[in-house]
Amino acid sequence: MMEYTWNDLHVGLRHEFEASFTAQSASIFAALSGDMNPLHVDEAYAVSAGFPAPVLFGMLTSSLYSRLVGIYLPGKYGLLQGIDLDFSSPSYAGDQLRVAGEITHMTEAYQRFEIKATIRRSDGKLISKATIRVGFYVG
């Protein structure tokens, strides 16, 4: 886990990491969230709807933005305060996802910064993009 202090941070600071989800991840998310929409959990239904497999929940893949903030940018002293999120393409269990985020604005007065972030498949296809607002505290 990164432990950036406020003075370590600057516009342009960037982190990336990779992750993937399994069909079991989607089942667990469905149970936790209560979203049992068959497009996400029923393979036959998803295929009949024109998808190659059940579509991973957008909010499941977007949980990686939480990891981006809590582990990497800034890590230990960050607090996710808000996020604007757009989904661009579906992703599927087993897809290798690359999460990248970069600081684009810092509000010095309140020690708060913004990250522009994306999640892409290994072929470069954009899955989602986000503007993330992060508070900062020293624990």
Binding site: Q81, T107, R133
Partner: protein, 80 residues
């Protein structure tokens, strides 16, 4: 001042999700619904980005209402 007020009104409407909000120089956190501490940080950040200026915490603590904010923005824009 009027054009900045109009631009601030647009920013406030977006951040506070209040499309009908009417902002005046006398508006402040006590008389504008949903203008709480976190919204305030969001407003300051959005204003900084819109005008490409930076505020110091001390400057912000001096502000009593939107009219004061407009005056501070005018000073910063003039100094650019």
């Amino acid at each position: 001042m009027d054009s900045i007020l109009t631009e601030l009104e647009s920013i406030f409407r977006d951040i506070l999700d209040r499309p009908d909000l009417v902002l005046t120089p006398e508006s402040n956190a006590n008389n504008v619904e949903d203008w709480d501490s976190l919204a305030h940080i969001n407003l300051v950040s959005a204003i900084e980005k819109h005008y490409k200026i930076k505020f110091a915490l001390g400057e912000l603590q001096e502000l009593k209402n939107v009219g004061d904010m407009i005056a501070l923005i005018e000073v910063k824009l003039a100094a650019k």
